[in-house]
């Protein structure tokens, strides 16, 4: 009790105008910013992987398995920030046991489980099955057993079985794309369906979330691909990289247009909340929204990527532009999540005042824990890559 009084008292001084007394405590903090960011990366990475199978984009083949593993690594971590955030993680199973079907959040458990089990794990299993069997044959010790267990002890590498694998992958991918849309679209819906909050309440919210997810996923795979190839001392496949950057460019344009549409629509309709929202944008969100999200995270990388399209740029410079752009996009998308989640709570639902959010360094809801949750997927990915090498060379002919 003392502790919370200590925490909240300084915020009283930062309030401008009037906010409802219960609004002084800001409820969804940094962990809830991390959560949609991570699920966005999952959805984006998976949609990228699906391009290979559904639309037969040959160029991005080298990143197919890497994207799948990236999606899996981030998906495994995705629920952890939620779990850390809720007041009673020990009761979290209730969301599976007695889901309230009118709650967007209750559907989380099912969409997550569906996506993890019915889509990602299955696709990875079918894709790796034959390779796992062959690897297991030539291995000894622990690795042999790990690989055998992951094949579920199957040994069938006949042509008929492999054909079935391929057909299954195609089917799963076709189911998987709408599922990935669902996974992240629904995260947008969690916010977009809150009619009490004009900053969130928008039909465009799920779509904006989705496209920003695809943008961040592609950028992430591009980054991982570049770093990993560099670390492994291999040659970067420029055709693949160009294609990835191309996709990144186009999805960014869609994302940008959607966000601009949302902005213009709000401004033009100019509803009751417009005054407090413009105060918010020009004040407390100016740096994170205008400077970081818009200028650094969108305009700058768009300029970089379009310059590659417009001018003949040597491969070496291209690589640098791609790398920096993808990095900026990550920063941009993270602040997008920040601006939605935190921004939506900085103004009072009385539309008469603004409050403040001060992130702590330590504690469960602190910066360090959040950084941990952002680093953890890479550790998981490292382990996954060790067990399921996604490289072309590892693939058995």
């Amino acid at each position: 009790m003392e502790e919370i009084a200590h925490q909240l008292a300084p915020i009283l001084e930062q309030i401008t105008g009037y906010i409802y007394p219960n609004e002084i405590e800001l409820h969804w903090r940094i962990l809830i910013v991390v959560y949609p960011y991570i699920t966005g990366l999952v959805a984006g990475a998976f949609i990228l992987a699906s391009l290979v199978k559904v639309f037969n984009v040959r160029e991005v083949q080298p990143t197919y398995r890497l994207s799948l593993l990236t999606a899996l690594a981030f998906l495994i971590v995705a629920p952890l920030p939620l779990l850390a955030h809720i007041g009673h993680p020990e009761k979290s199973l209730e969301i599976f046991l007695t889901p309230n079907f009118s709650s967007a959040m209750a559907m989380f458990g099912f969409i997550y489980a569906w996506y993890l089990m019915a889509v990602l794990l299955l696709e990875i299993w079918f894709d790796y099955r034959r390779d796992l069997i062959i690897w297991a044959k030539n291995e000894k010790g622990l690795m042999k057993w790990i690989h055998r267990i992951f094949t579920l002890f199957s040994t069938d590498t006949s042509e008929r079985a492999v054909r079935f694998d391929k057909r299954s992958i195609k089917a799963i991918t076709i189911v998987g794309i709408p599922s990935a849309f669902l996974l992240h679209g629904y995260v947008g819906f969690i916010f977009g369906s809150v009619k009490a909050n004009p900053w969130w309440s928008s039909v465009l919210m799920p779509i904006v979330f989705l496209f920003s997810a695809i943008v961040s996923g592609i950028a992430l795979v591009l980054l991982i691909y570049m770093v990993v190839t560099l670390v492994r001392g291999k040659e970067i496949n420029m055709a693949c990289l160009d294609k990835l950057a191309g996709y990144l460019f186009y999805t960014m344009i869609i994302d940008f247009s959607l966000e601009a549409l949302d902005f213009i629509h709000r401004l033009y309709e100019s509803e009751e909340s417009i005054e407090i929202l413009s105060q918010l944008i020009s004040g407390r969100l100016f740096v994170s929204l205008i400077v970081i999200q818009l200028l650094l995270g969108m305009i700058l990388p768009l300029a970089g990527l379009s310059s590659v399209k417009l001018f003949r740029v040597p491969a070496e410079l291209r690589r640098h532009i791609y790398f920096v752009s993808a990095l900026l996009v990550q920063v941009g998308i993270f602040t997008t999540r920040w601006n939605v989640v935190i921004g939506g709570q900085l103004f009072s639902k009385s539309f008469r005042g603004l409050t403040a959010y001060k992130m702590s360094l330590g504690g469960v809801e602190g910066l360090l824990v959040s950084l941990g949750f952002l680093i953890l997927p890479f550790i998981v990915l490292y382990i996954l890559v060790k067990i399921f090498p996604p490289w072309q060379e590892a693939k058995q002919p």
């Binding site: 009037y18 409802y20 007041g87 309230n100 809150v194």
Partner: protein, 257 residues
Amino acid sequence: MKEANIERRDFLKRLIVSVLSFSSPGLLKAQEKSKESTSLYEKGYDPEEHLWGMGIRINRCIGCGRCADACKRENDVPRLPFFFRTWVERYIILEGDEVVVDSPTGGVDGFKTHVQEKKLVRSFFVPKLCNQCDKPPCVQVCPVGATYKTEDGVTLVDSEYCIGCRYCIQACPYGARFIHPRTHTAEKCTFCYHRIVKGLIPACVKVCPTQARVFGDTKGRASPLVRFMRMNKIRVLKPYLNTEPKVFYAGLDMEVK
């Protein structure tokens, strides 16, 4: 040994019932009904006979804040200025369309004179609390069924079941919910449910020295609230959100949000 056996048998029975219930959910319900219970609803209080509501007469409220104080005492609400089941707002409308709103410690310690240079146009107090919506957005979004609307129209929270995800707080347009710092679960005004089912009125209504708050049944029978609703032109807060509140205001000003 014997007990363990019975437990196991019970478990097996439930297991079978549950597997069957996948095809016919009626079975599960039947199993539940057979369980005896001595709950309030079976001891004479029939929730279907009531539909509770509250009326607030703005032009009677003197801003003494006794309601907010009594609520904290009755319901063990933390005595900190960040957590309120009910609070009082003061609106000061000045010349030039300037509106000053405040609610120092929710009104628990009363109000001090507000010093302003501009000329006063009008000023008044507005008591606020959970609006006990007929279409509560908080119940809609609760992922686990920890917040619910009873048959007699009161939205309550099951603190044993609440996981503390705070979605209900985000969904509430009126800022009526908070997280209790001790239990880490959501909390809000219950219309003093523990009092009203025993024939008492909510604590805030009871201590209001000017009878600015009126409590009663909106269903059929004569009650102070029915009379209030007949005698006044009433309005609710944020009607455009279609939450259908059951806290009705008489003499509500356009500046109140």
